[in-house]
């Protein structure tokens, strides 16, 4: 227990140290911006990983929740003059309620049917955001005012770097605590076998709904932050490709690993910029890398590498 506790706190401290140390490398705006987006993506992925990695339920629609948060902040602050934090909270609660309403029928589905249903949900959200011009500004997107906390104005890339980094570390801390709690054990049990978990008296539906709603709320909150950081949102944030991007980050980094989610998010935020040097060939290179990593490390980067470190010379790691 003591070892677990220290691994948990140690991990969070490590993440915090990385966030704190990174700006020391230099003030290049391009890199700071990329790092800021990496942390925001990582926070969404940590939440999504609870659902995919621990509860074993796939979602191909989380960008929808992300965009709902972003648009709630954008519309409520710009149009109705609602204070930023209140708008953020409203977005999170609204998204949570929507997720809760659809969670039971959706999570009854298994495997590819669940993938289809979540994909459909995300698609519907993105189409509504694209079509309801009067409210959302349509495909061209919408301007977002700066975030005010009281009279303090959160602006500037550097400020947002720290907000994004803080949000990511906080989400990681929350996630690691949850995993080590009774809820985390219940989730792992139902991932192993839903029927077996039920016979042990675990209310599997309740836990699945809980994690689905939690991951949706995290996505919405990060979406709000993203909207204020970028000062602009488009319906593309809700798109199918964005949902796929989140899932890819989780799977690439390693399912059922909070640090894997962070690593996956960072790599997939940076990689498209890195392969941009291949210009016309960037999609070919990107696709090839994705295929290779998943073939040779089917469990994802972090669990595979951790296994290697723990058992040098190969063999199945923990």
């Amino acid at each position: 227990m003591r070892a677990l506790l220290s691994a948990r706190i140690g991990g969070v401290l490590l993440l915090a140290a990385i966030v704190a140390a990174l700006p020391l490398l230099g003030p290049n705006r391009f890199y700071v911006d990329m790092a800021m987006k990496s942390w925001l993506n990582a926070a969404v992925c940590i939440g999504l990983n609870l659902l995919i990695g621990y509860a074993g339920q796939i979602s191909l629609g989380h960008a929808g929740f992300f965009a709902l948060g972003a648009y709630a902040s954008a519309i409520l602050t710009a149009r109705y003059g609602v204070p930023g934090l209140v708008a953020m909270l409203a977005g999170a609660v609204g998204t949570g309620l929507l997720a809760f309403a659809v969670a039971r029928p959706i999570l009854k589905l298994r495997g590819h049917y669940l993938a289809m249903a979540t994909l459909g949900l995300g698609f519907i959200i993105s189409i509504v955001l694209t079509r309801e011009l009067w409210l959302t500004g349509g495909p061209d997107g919408v301007q977002v005012p700066a975030l005010f906390v009281g009279t303090w104005r959160a602006s500037g890339l550097e400020t947002w770097y720290w907000i994004a980094g803080g949000a990511m570390v906080l989400t990681a801390w929350l996630s690691l605590n949850l995993i080590d709690s009774g809820i985390g054990r219940a989730l792992r049990a139902l991932h192993g076998s839903e029927v077996a978990a039920e016979t042990l008296g675990i209310d599997t539906t309740r836990y699945k709904v809980m994690v689905f709603v939690l991951s949706a709320v995290i996505a919405a909150l990060v979406g709000s932050l993203f909207a204020h950081a970028e000062r602009f949102v488009t319906p593309q944030e809700a798109g199918f490709l964005r949902s796929i991007e989140f899932v890819t980050m989780v799977v690439l980094g390693g399912m059922a690993s909070t640090f894997g989610a962070v690593v996956g998010a960072v790599i997939l935020t940076v990689l498209p910029q890195a392969v941009a040097t291949f210009q016309d060939f960037k999609h070919i290179v990107f696709g090839a890398i994705l295929i290779m990593v998943m073939i040779f490390m089917p469990r994802g980067l972090v669990p595979t590498l951790a296994g290697l470190v723990r058992r040098p010379g190969g063999g199945p790691g923990a």
Binding site: I52, I58, P105, K108, L109, R110, G111, H112, Y113, A115, M116, A117, L119, G120, L121, F123, I124, I127, V128, R131, S193, E194, V195, A196, T199, F240, L241, I244, V247, T248, V250, V251, L252, M255, D280, F281, K282, H283, I284, V285, F286, G287, A288, I289, L290, I291, M294, I295, P298, R299, G300
Partner: protein, 291 residues
């Protein structure tokens, strides 16, 4: 009435395309339990390759079509051989990401080879619309519908009459048992990727004269095909076929009678509604879990 007939015609045409893509999903899923998110790219290859072979290389259509289908089929074989087979035993999510990686890769190759522009393909037998009870029907739609009928009959004969077709069904029902009676399961899986890629390509090249084609048309068509397959109940080729037609008709009717703004959303609303009532699609078998 004329209006209804008009929407029905366009619904059937679009639905036939969804059906062919959906059947491709079902065939691959049956033999390998893989949902191939690169399925839409075969549709794109079919259209783009035919355009390139006729417009750029100057081949006659009758020659370009089989070559385009062959290119797609070879791509399907390569996908199975080099990306899916090596990942045997990986989790569902991992395999999904591999097929998504493959679809990005294929799109990238076509983007580099043939560019990013919209490409048009000439209609197979002119653009003079047929008039039926006040509604019009494009000759190209007849090609599409005819192809769907031919595909349905072909598949029926293939699964009922040929040894390979029966072996494919056997593999779908029970992999291990199929292997025990001497069926080479790996070759069956290879074949199923080739076959479904060919079907996708056929759908793509038939639809290219109606809707234009581009390196990224596969994303949406693939998703609609997935909808068709899920609607019919995964793993049922006939379910996917009917699911695709239904989807096309409902989509065009809603676009015609209500608003085309939400045309693309209709498919997903239907899917959600059906899945909430019947969690394994319209014709899918109810699954049981082994502990």
């Amino acid at each position: 009435m004329a209006e209804f007939l008009q929407f029905l015609f366009s619904g059937l045409t679009v639905g036939a395309i969804y059906a062919m893509v959906g059947v491709g999903f079902a065939i691959i899923y049956n033999s390998s339990q893989v949902i191939n998110f690169a399925q839409g790219e075969f549709v794109m290859i079919g259209g783009m390759a035919t355009v390139a072979l006729t417009a750029n290389a100057g081949l006659p259509l009758a020659l370009a079509v089989p070559i385009a289908i062959a290119i797609a089929a070879l791509t399907g074989l390569a996908l199975q051989k080099f990306a899916i087979e090596p990942s045997r035993g990986a989790s569902v999510a991992t395999v999904i990401i591999i097929t998504i990686g493959a679809s990005i890769f294929i799109r990238g190759v076509v983007e580099v080879a043939l560019g990013k522009n919209d490409r048009a393909l000439e209609s197979f037998s002119g653009d003079e619309p047929l008039r039926i009870a006040g509604a019009t029907l494009l000759p190209q739609s007849l090609w599409v519908l005819g192809a769907l009928v031919a595909v349905a009959i072909g598949l029926k004969l293939f699964f009922d009459r040929t040894r390979v077709g029966k072996a494919m069904l056997a593999t779908a029902q029970n992999r291990l048992a199929a292997q025990l009676v001497g069926i080479e399961v790996n070759r069956i899986m290879l074949l199923s990727f080739g076959l479904s890629a060919a079907l996708g390509a056929l759908a793509g090249l038939l639809t290219a004269p109606i809707t234009l084609t581009r390196y990224d048309v596969g994303i949406m068509l693939g998703l609609k095909g997935f909808c068709a397959a899920i609607l019919g109940g995964l793993g049922s080729a006939w379910g996917a076929l009917i699911g695709g037609l239904l989807l096309g008709i409902v989509e065009q009717m809603s676009a015609g009678y209500f608003s085309s703004a939400y045309k693309d959303a209709v498919a997903f609303v239907i899917i959600l509604a059906v899945l909430f009532v019947r969690p394994s699609g319209l014709f899918g078998a109810r699954g049981t879990d082994r502990v």
